[in-house]
Subunit: 356 residues, 2 copies
C-alpha cells in the first residue's frame, strides 16, 4: 500500500527528538559517502502578477532503504512589505492551500511507499538541522535562546534548540509586533522555557547564548558588531548575516557546499522587474562555500567544533538537501506504520505492468 | 480533485494523433522560449546484485498551464545477453510491476491535477517525437518503414511513422526471433500497413524509405554503409548508429542539445564493475550536440529540412525532456476530463494549510 499522511497526522507522529535521531544517522552516513543527493532545482515562469515556481530535489540513503523526491509547486508574488520586496508564496490551491509533496520510494522494490504534503517535515528538518548545529557547537551551559523572526520556521528553531540544550529562557524579536505576540504565546505552550518578546535585535543579541535567525529577509537583520564572545549563531539564509558577523565568527560550519540551486528561468528580465534586484536569495559575507567544513564533518569529528567557551561559533544552514527528506520521511513512515496511522492507497495506482 | 489514470485508461484516451497535436504545439512554444525544462537527473546507488536508480525531470509550459515532474524509481540489473551487457529494469514492485510517475500541477493554483504511472505516455512521447522527425524530414512518398528492434518502444515508433506518412509496408528485424514474431503479430493489428519480419538489418536497410532504431543496444546495430540516398533515419539512442552512418547523413536534426543527464552516482567503481564499461549510454559519431539544429527549429522553419529527394536525413531523438510530459500529460488530462475517466482523489490529501 502507498501511504498518505496529512499534516495533522504527521504532527502527531513526529517530534523533534525523532528528527534529531534520523538526521544524526543521515549525517554519519553522508560522511562516509552513503547518502547521495540531486541538488535542488528551481524552475520559474513569470506571469502577469508574479510567477509559477516548480522546485524539486532528490535523495537516496541506503541506511533508510529509501529514495525521495520532494516537490514544491508554488504560486509566487513579490509584494513590497515595510519598504522591502518580499518573496511570498500564495496559498492558491483549493481551500487556500499551498502545494509541496514528499514522495518516498523503496530502494528494494522501487514502489512508492508514501506520498504526503511536505510542510511539516520541511519545518522539522530545517529546525532539526539548525538544532544539530546548536548541539555540536553551542556552549554546554547555553541557557538563553534568542530568535530573530516569528514565522513558521521560527517555531521549529525554538523546539530544536530546546532539544539540544537546557534552555531556560527564549527571547524573540520580530518587526511585526502582532505576529511576535501570537508567536510567543503559541511557542510558549510547546516548550518548558519562558518565552518573551524583545524590543529589538540588539536586545536579543545582548542577552542570548544562542541566536537563531529565521526570517524571510533578503538582507542582514542585525549589526554583526553586537556579537559577544561565546555566542553561537545560526541562520537559514546566509544573507541574514552581515560581513561584520561573518568576520567575528571563529568557527563556521555549513550544511552543504552546494550554495545555490539550479535556476531555470523563463524570461529573466520579467522576473527581475517583478522581484527587484534581490529576486533570488544572495550569498553574503564572502564565505567560501566549497571548502568550509560541513555539519556532517562536524558530527563525525572530521571537522573541529568549538575550541573554547570564548569562541563565536556559527552554523549556516545554507541549503536544503533531498537526503534530509529521505531521513526524516523514512522515520515518519516507520512511526506511522507502528501506529497504523494515515490513509492507505492501492500501490497499483502508482505502479505499472508496462516497461517505463 | 486530483486524477489518477491507470495505463489501461490512458490507452483508451490517447492516440498518436493527439500526441502529435500536443507535441507540435510544444515545439512551437519551445522555439519562442515559452517552455522550460529542468534536465533529467539520474541518481544511482549500487547494491549487491545491481542498483537502485532514481531519475527525475521537470518542465513547465504556459500554453498548457501545467508544470510536470516525471519520476522513475528503478531496480536495475546488468545481465549479459547474447554476449553483451544490457541494462535491465526489474519489475520488483508488488505484482511484478515497474515504477514511474507523472505528476501534473496547475500553474494557476499550484495544485496537483494528476498523478499517474508514466509508461504509456513515455512510449507515446518518444514515438510521437520520432514521428515528428519523420513528418518533417522523410520523403513525402515514403511508403516502406523499417524497424530495428521489437520491444516496447518499437511499437510506438511504428504507430508514429504510420501517423506521419502513408506507410504500406513495415519490415522489422530483431535478433530475438520469438519477440520479433510476437511483435509483428501485435503491431500488425494496430496499423493498416502489412507488417513483416526481416532476416537481418541489411534486409531492413535494403528496402525501407524510413528506418527507425528502437533497441536496448549500447553499440551500433547496423553498418552505416548500407544507407541509401533518400532514406530517413531515426534513433532514440545515438549510440545505435555508427560513425559511417553519421558521416552519410546530409541533414541531422536532434531533439535536445542536452545530450547527457546529470549523473549522481554512489560508488562509481562498483557501478562499473556491475555494468561493464558501457554502463551509461555513450554518445557516438562525434556529433556536436550543442550546435546541431533541433526539432523545434525544424518545425518552425528556423532550421532547414530535407533539401532534395536524394538527401539522407536523420533525427536523433537523443534526450527526453520534462516538457514533453507536460504537453502529452496535459492533453491526456483534457481528454480524461471530457470523458469523465479515471479515479478522483481529494486534492486536500496532496495540499496543505501550512507554509511549505
Amino acid at each position: 500500500m502507498t501511504l498518505v499522511l496529512s499534516i495533522e497526522e504527521q504532527r502527531e507522529l513526529l517530534d523533534m527528538a525523532s528528527v534529531f535521531e534520523a538526521l544524526e544517522i543521515l549525517y554519519r552516513e553522508e560522511a562516509v559517502g552513503r547518502a547521495v543527493t540531486r541538488p535542488r532545482s528551481d524552475v520559474l515562469v513569470p506571469n502577469e502578477n508574479g510567477a509559477y515556481g516548480l522546485k524539486s530535489m532528490d535523495g537516496v540513503v541506503p541506511a533508510f532503504n529509501v529514495g525521495v523526491v520532494r516537490i514544491n509547486s508554488d504560486v509566487i508574488t513579490w509584494p513590497t512589505v515595510r519598504g522591502a520586496k518580499r518573496r511570498v508564496k500564495v496559498p492558491a490551491a483549493p481551500g487556500d492551500r499551498w502545494v509541496g509533496l514528499i514522495l518516498l520510494f523503496s530502494m528494494s522494490t522501487g514502489e512508492p511507499l508514501a506520498i504526503m504534503p511536505d510542510g511539516y517535515v520541511q519545518r522539522m528538518r530545517v529546525g532539526g538541522t539548525s538544532g544539530l548545529g546548536v548541539k555540536y557547537l553551542a556552549r554546554q551551559d547555553a541557557g538563553v535562546l534568542g530568535i530573530l523572526g516569528s514565522g513558521w520556521q521560527a517555531g521549529a528553531q525554538v523546539l530544536a534548540a530546546c532539544e539540544a540544550r537546557d534552555v531556560e529562557r527564549v527571547v524573540v524579536y520580530s518587526p511585526n509586533r502582532e505576529n511576535l505576540l501570537r508567536f510567543i504565546q503559541e511557542i510558549g505552550r510547546e516548550v518548558k522555557a519562558d518565552v518573551l518578546a524583545a524590543d529589538s535585535p540588539e536586545a536579543v543579541l545582548g542577552e542570548s547564548d544562542v541566536v537563531l535567525c529565521a526570517t524571510n529577509a533578503l538582507q542582514p537583520i542585525f549589526d554583526g558588531s553586537l556579537l559577544r564572545p561565546g555566542q553561537h549563531l545560526g541562520c537559514i539564509k546566509p544573507c541574514e548575516l552581515d560581513k561584520t558577523a561573518y568576520g567575528r565568527v571563529d568557527r563556521l560550519i555549513i550544511h552543504s557546499p552546494d550554495s545555490t540551486p539550479n535556476h531555470v528561468v523563463m524570461d529573466e528580465a520579467r522576473v527581475e522587474q517583478l522581484a527587484g534586484d534581490k529576486g533570488w536569495s544572495s550569498d553574503a559575507g564572502g564565505v567560501d562555500w566549497i571548502s568550509t567544513p560541513t555539519l556532517s564533518q562536524l558530527i563525525t569529528g572530521a571537522a573541529k567544533g568549538r575550541g573554547s567557551d570564548e569562541e563565536v561559533t556559527c552554523f549556516a544552514n545554507n541549503m536544503g538537501l533531498g537526503i534530509q527528506f529521505a531521513a526524516v520521511g523514512a522515520k515518519l513512515l516507520e512511526l506511522a506504520r507502528d501506529r497504523g496511522a494515515g490513509t492507505e492507497l492501492p500501490t497499483e495506482w502508482f505502479t505499472q505492468n508496462v516497461h517505463p
